[in-house]
């Protein structure tokens, strides 16, 4: 089992209604505990690829395996349970501004039905890891862009998912903050989380020394 790749795309094609082909015959494997960057020009299909892993979209052709599970086989009702095992970080954070940092990070645990007293412990552990333990009671609107992104990361990892996806997590941040965020991802990878980050920040990626998966007009570029 543990020799299986964590993420496995097998000749996946995704065509949107209207005929635009976002991904064409994409195949790759990402091993357990591996960290990789997904790059390419905008519109190359990076977001589509991540959405397919999240089951936000379904492929037209080909198969996707995550943790050895064929995503084809998940029915609509099973998708939420699958998503609890995949942490996602968005460029625009997707934080809820009507609740505190603590409540934002607690959301996945509440949804998963974690006992209330357990939630507090795990939320603080996650906030501690991203260095925001002191900000648990504030509202996200009062935080800087980098801090908001770290709240988003805390929320993505609070469930201890084996897979962590990020879609342009440093898109709105200056280089210094970007590097901090990337180091955070590296830390999670070092403890065994499989990490896949979509980013077009080539300068940053180049000195991180991780595998790079390059997309060009929906096709995989080897190299």
């Amino acid at each position: 089992m543990s020799n299986d790749p964590m993420i496995h795309f097998d000749r996946v094609t995704k065509r949107y209604p209207g005929g635009f082909e976002a991904l064409t015959e994409v195949s790759f494997k990402l091993g357990r505990g591996e960290m990789a960057f997904l790059t390419g020009h905008s519109g190359a299909g990076k977001s589509t690829l991540l959405k397919l892993i999240m089951l936000m979209e379904r492929p037209n052709k080909g198969q996707i395996f995550v943790g050895g599970q064929n995503l084809d086989r998940f029915s609509r009702g099973q998708i939420p349970y699958f998503r609890r095992h995949v942490g996602v970080v968005f460029q625009n954070h997707q934080l809820l501004f009507d609740r505190t940092v603590f409540d934002n990070v607690a959301l996945p645990l509440e949804i998963a039905g974690v006992a209330p007293r357990e939630i507090g412990r795990r939320v603080r552990a996650a906030l501690d890891k991203v260095g925001l333990l002191k900000k648990e009671k504030v509202f996200p609107i009062t935080l800087s862009g980098g801090e908001q992104q770290r709240v988003g990361i805390a929320r993505a990892v609070v469930n201890k998912p084996p897979v962590l996806l990020a879609d342009e997590p440093t898109g709105n941040l200056d280089p210094e903050l970007s590097e901090e965020i990337m180091k955070l991802f590296q830390q999670f990878n070092q403890v065994g989380v499989t990490v896949l980050i979509a980013s077009h920040d080539l300068a940053l990626i180049s000195h991180m020394h991780h595998r790079v998966i390059r997309l060009d007009h929906g096709q995989l570029q080897l190299g």
Partner: protein, 341 residues
Amino acid sequence: MKDVGQRGAMPAQNNRRQPQGEIPSRQGASAGLEQSSLEAYFSHHRQTAKSSLLRLFKTPLSSLMTWLVIAVALALPMGLLVLLSNVTGITADLEGSSRISLYMKLDVEDQAAFQLSQEIQKRADVESVHFINRVEALEEFKAISGWGDVLAYLDNNPLPSVIVVQPAPMVNNAQQMEILSSALGENPGVENVQVDLQWVKRLNALFEVLGRATLAIALLLGVAVILIIGNTIRLAIENRRDEILVVKLVGGTDPYVRRPFLYTGFWYGVVGAIMAWLLVNIALWWLSGPVNQMASLYYSRFQLSGLSIEATGMLLVAGAFLGCAGAWMAVKRHLDEIEPR
């Protein structure tokens, strides 16, 4: 960092622990998560119920408007129902105060019939009697029916003498009326006994119609309440679209996403019902003055009765049900189609 160490799968060359956070099998997935506990489930219900109510109080004015609309829609049929049950209560009293007419046999002389009426007068369960002899009966018939000319062709007076009996107040229900009338009917000279319940029956038939009409109004307004709440919930869903998307992205199931909106509908219905209860009671209080005055003019001790415990319970249950139904309708139509893209 020690907390993180439990996570995830790593290649074997590391000295880190074996994978723990596995992607669940589909069977495992649908059976729920290892962390799911009944405690957390009920705690979420409690929390959602509370936060949905608090959320309504955060926009007091618009919530109040919705509650008032629901209250008016519920109070109208409820008020009609209370008035109707009050009035049917009066007619139930009247049933006992009907009169009994004894039609004598034709061969009984007026004198004998009059004597019988005097005997009946002495009974404890009779308030008074009124004797109508055959000639009077004929005169009355001529006057009322307009068939006087026809009667002129007859040789004999075809009408019997009549004893009209007014029962005593103690005879106050249909069963006792029955006992009295059959006792009176056993007198040998009596041909036929008629209990004068016709008008009570007519009145009851009228109330039957009014009752049905009230039910129809209640049903229509119930549908209106469902639509009002449905539309309000639809707007709430639109307002919280971002939140719904995030919840769905981090693994919220459809029931989880629906729950706060169903509770919101529930609170709209229940608080609306409570306000309807207040409205009905205010209206009854307002009516009670004139009603008491009217009752005293009729020498009656009638008092307007308010909402019974049962009616109050029914009102609350109806409010809760309509609220949930309206919310369910909106949630089914609008929530399930919000999917992260």
